[in-house]
């Protein structure tokens, strides 16, 4: 539909519409043409594929080096003054998209850690124990509880680790299919990663598409719940046909040992954040309320002490260390390496430090691509050949987001990289911010937990490899190979399918003229 071959209704003679803002010249020129401005992000993508997919090293720090490497290589291809290139890096880094995501991540990280340290998973284990589900229904029940847990803490990787540690061995003992149990955990992680307002990918999808996080969560519920309902039915049916393995172990009392109903109070903490975000409160305000309530529950109910929330480890010769040594938040350490600050609050925040640096660098590289003209070239080609009408535009958005998330292990990084492309394609057809964010995050969450090189699968598998050392009856042969789980991550496959159908049929489609997403400026 690009170009001006279609006339307006009254046959306007000046029918030569062209794209562009009148500022057509790229501000940075490259040897080799404008396509070379994609070199930094191209180097990063190749680096990310080699490191994470081919060598299976899921390390955000390594990706930071890859992005730095790409930015340095790109500079050597700049014509004329390199200062414009360097300035564009800073221009990109100071875009609101990056800083908004970082602020929200750090708040969300603290909240998630408080819930984890406050025994939330123990509460869910108690629920599973109370329900007394058998082998056939265990995968379906695991899916529901993992979905609930991830919706509370936001991080699907954390949920995969916590649930593999507790629910996977329990499933083995009950005689449930290990492949289905692991797949159900991953499906639950996808559900929460996609829907939780404190999820890193939810936050990125909202801020890159200029939308408020609460509105994004409410508007994506319809896609998520359709996929989840089918997923639940799928695990119930598959659970009847796929059996478990003989463990030779005695009574399945693993659940009872790890269960503690009091951790369920964090359903309230979780409800406060979700309710406040959807009611339109600023996301920092919403999560702050969740943090305050979670700390209060942890302290009042004895789920975690003040020292577990924050502890200062000071050297003995520090001026005020000895006089205040009785404070519960202060401990004196002899080992110089042990000096520091620790606890839920610190761990939660620091979990996002590396990702924060990475997102700054990726946004900088995207800005180089925009200023250098490669982004416009890709966009023009897409509009000419792929996104020729609104249905094809949405299918293009689904396919491009799915592809980049399928090949880059750390799905948040992939989502940041593809965000501008999704935004521009969607804005051209006046798709509103919620619809764009939902298409983007649906694929991001789904494809981040399916393939053997996906971050969520790697996190869960790593936890699983530690299980034989923990339980005498559990040997290496009982573990699930990541490749075996691929077809059974129902929530992932179904979520992608829901979006393909939604693009074709127009289900859930909203235009800017139907409803404008509330400004991300509120974030």
């Amino acid at each position: 539909m690009s170009g001006g071959s279609d006339g307006p209704p009254d046959g306007d003679p000046t029918d030569t519409f062209v794209e562009g803002t009148g500022d057509e010249e790229p501000r940075i020129t490259f040897y080799g043409g404008r396509g070379m401005s994609a070199l930094p992000i191209g180097v990063f993508i190749v680096w990310a594929i080699v490191q994470t997919a081919l060598w299976r090293i899921s390390d955000t720090g390594g990706l930071i080096v890859g992005m730095l490497f790409g930015l340095v290589i790109g500079m050597f291809f700049v014509r004329g003054n390199w200062a414009s290139y360097a300035n564009t890096i800073f221009e990109g880094m100071t875009q609101p998209v990056a800083v908004t995501a970082i602020v929200a991540w750090i708040w969300a990280g603290i909240f998630a850690q408080l819930l984890q340290d406050g025994g939330f998973v123990g509460g869910l284990v108690w629920l599973a124990d109370l329900a007394g589900v058998g082998a056939a229904l265990f995968p379906a029940a695991t899916f529901v509880l993992a979905a609930l847990f991830t919706t509370g803490i936001g991080t699907g990787y954390g949920a995969a680790v916590a649930f593999v540690t507790l629910f996977f061995p329990t499933g083995l003992l009950l005689g449930a299919s290990p492949v289905l149990t692991f797949a159900a955990i991953l499906s639950g992680a996808i559900f929460g990663d996609n829907l939780a307002p404190v999820s890193d990918t939810t936050i990125v999808s909202a801020v890159t598409q200029d939308s408020d996080i609460g509105g994004v969560v409410a508007s994506r519920f319809k896609y998520v719940i359709i996929a989840a309902t089918l997923t639940f039915v799928g695990y119930v049916v598959a659970g009847q046909t796929m059996g478990g393995i003989e463990t030779g172990a005695g009574a399945a009392n693993l659940l009872a040992e790890a269960s503690d109903p009091i951790g369920l109070v964090h359903l309230v903490s979780m409800g406060i954040v979700i309710g406040a975000a959807i009611a339109g409160r600023h996301i920092v305000e919403a999560i702050s309320w969740g943090i305050v309530v979670a700390i209060a529950f942890n302290l009042v109910l004895g789920l975690a002490g003040i020292g577990e929330i924050v502890t200062f480890s000071a050297p003995a010769d520090a001026p005020l260390a000895q006089p205040l040594a009785d404070l519960p938040i202060l401990q004196i350490v002899d080992d110089a390496d042990a000096v520091g600050v620790s606890g839920s609050v610190m761990e939660g925040a620091s979990g996002f430090f590396e990702l924060s640096i990475l997102v700054l660098l990726i946004i900088a590289a995207a800005q180089i691509m925009i200023r250098g003209g490669a982004f416009q070239a890709i966009l023009d080609w897409s509009l000419e050949n792929l996104a020729t009408n609104v249905r094809n535009a949405e299918l293009t958005m689904v396919a491009s987001a799915a592809l980049i998330n399928a090949i880059i292990t750390i799905n948040t990084a992939a989502e940041v990289a593809i965000g501008p492309y999704i935004s521009k394609i969607g804005e051209r057809f006046n798709l509103n911010g919620y619809r764009r964010a939902n298409i983007l995050d649906g694929q991001t969450a789904a494809l981040g937990y399916i393939f053997p090189w996906s971050g969520g699968v790697l996190a869960g598998y790593q936890a699983m490899e530690g299980l034989p050392g923990e339980y005498e009856w559990l040997d290496q042969g009982m573990l699930v190979t990541p490749i075996d789980v691929v077809p059974y991550v129902f929530q992932g496959w179904l979520l992608v399918a829901v979006f393909v159908v939604a693009a074709i049929t127009g289900f859930g489609r909203e235009y800017v003229t139907d409803r404008e997403s509330e400004e991300v400026a509120r974030v």
């Binding site: 519409f17 562009g20 509105g215 995207a366 925009i370 416009q376 521009k424 909203e510 235009y511």
Partner: protein, 90 residues
């Protein structure tokens, strides 16, 4: 909009060619321009925005619809004001 109604919004199949009535005031992103008038696509509906020059491309503008043909899903409108930016400005 209440908390609950936000969850229920959008449970429908939306046309790829939305229609408008003369007099409607809408907000749209301008996709392209011929120098004096702009073109906005709302799905596959095409709107010519009078007075939307190069400075409005990839900007969100407020438009008053002046005429609309349902059968061809095309229409015209006049530019009222620029009200917003693209998510990414390049």
């Amino acid at each position: 909009m209440s908390l609950f109604s936000k969850y229920l919004k959008g449970w429908r199949f939306r046309s790829s060619e939305p229609t408008f009535e003369p007099g409607d005031e809408i907000s749209v992103f301008v996709a392209e321009t011929n120098g004096t008038d702009g073109r906005a696509y709302v799905g596959d509906t095409r709107l010519t925005v009078e007075g939307a020059g190069p400075e409005t491309v990839e900007k969100r503008v407020r438009v008053r619809v002046t005429e609309f043909d349902d059968s061809s899903a095309t229409g015209r409108g006049e530019l009222l004001e620029v009200v917003g930016e693209s998510s990414y400005t390049g």
